[in-house]
Amino acid sequence: MSALSIRNLTKTYSNGVQALKGIDLTVEKGEFFALLGPNGAGKSTTIGIVSSLVNKSGGDVEIFGHSLDRERALAKKKIGVVPQEFNFNQFEKVYDIVVTQAGFYGIPIAEARRQAEKYLRQLGLWEKRQSAARMLSGGMKRRLMIARALVHEPELLILDEPTAGVDIELRRSMWDFLIGLNEQGRTIILTTHYLEEAESLCRRIAIIDHGVIVENTDMRSLLEKLQVETFVLDLQRPLQSAPELCGFHVRLRDAATLEVDVPKTESLNRLFGALAEQDIQVLSMRNKANRLEELFVRLVERNADLAGKEAAS
């Protein structure tokens, strides 16, 4: 059974903007799934419809086999949502926010308190439980939203930009927490602007742009589509000009730094061999950009070109 099944989902807002143009998407149980796309692509609209915050114009959504139209309550029980914006009462206490949310799912008060304690402790907020939510730091507020989303033990957790504006240390600890949840069997759907995050965490990925899914595959297959990778090499001695290396496109970024485009058909051994022949010693090497980021930009640019051609014809 799929955790999430979306069929021909459309959404046209009252101002005429067609945010979704009939998307199909399936997320299997236990997956760690990334939904990526540029701003305005339709990610938040899709998540909004799945979490009942946005009315759909057409299509079907099923969550663990429960239709959002016909078995809404059953479907909703399966989902926990962590939205992009803080959406709790800033004047309420941290503990009350989580316990109240459990109550909205019909969880009796004693169990609600146990669940709230469990997740507030796991997310490092137990000491802050009597603080008003507005007194928390940005990172703590994000963790509060995760605790609130988990309090009813959903099988599918949807996170919309969960690490936006969060410092690196906290981001890494949130990644570990989410990986742990996924390993326990929870299905996770994530939208993010940090493509490194998607590449590190997710095994499957869909890219949405202009309201259509332009790619939906596993991470390995997607990265294999990358034809050229660009590496940055830090050199031991400065150069006057970029060296000629057969089969590679080389640019001099500054006197001691080279940028080399390596086609997928070429090996790094041959690159280093060619550099050694010219007595160029490399101290260190790194990717110019995240691999997924390069691919994402190319896919979105290609889709924009196609959309432009369609509009012209």
Binding site: L53, V54, N89, G103, G106
Partner: protein
Amino acid sequence: MSFTEQWVAFLTLVTKEIRRFVRIWPQTLLPPAITMSLYFVIFGNLVGSRIGDMGGFDYMQYIVPGLIMMSVIQNSYGNVVSSFFSTKFQHSIEEMMVSPMPAHVILTGYMVGGIARGLMVGGIVTVLSLFFTHLTLQHAWITLSVVVMTAALFSLGGFINAVFARNFDDISIIPNFVLTPLTYLGGVFYSLELLPDFWRAVTLANPIVYMVNAFRYGILGVSDVNVYTSLGTIALFVLGFYILALWLLRRGTGIRA
């Protein structure tokens, strides 16, 4: 959701609502106590002593039921309109929308929260009035029915207002420009018998007249209108407002894009 789960969700929402207005009591419970005390001092003691009897009671006794009802109306309406609009404004309404709580549980929860504040303020005003005059309850069930149904009606009115409100100005228009004039002209301070025929007929089109008079009948045993007609009319309005509010909530009007 099973019935038990719905009951838990309902109690959670009602508790949340009551906790909200109790937490901010200097904004919610204190102001009506001060305002109504001033009414008692000025209109009851200072001016009232020169007016003499009205409807067979001294003026202070005559206006107390109307003032209690005025505070119930204003506070039940104000509670729901501000609470529900705040949840929209802060997006915390999404906490309920993502949950499996049915629309009727959400609506009833807000309505009961509004009734609770209306009754609490009504109780405070009643206790304060006893420092200024003597009251005997003539018809307990009628008093209770009228005050609960009136609080329910205005809670639902506040909810509908909040559904359509887009900014904070929108939640003050109805209380300031509709509720206050209708309440002041709703027979709180005078008997309809004092009015010329034309204005008496006009006044009878004001629904608050029926609520104030039915409540006054419950406490003092006198009314300018038929009490059972009043009760029936209020009940019909409660039903109509409930159906309308539920329909708006299910559609997601003002809530879902």
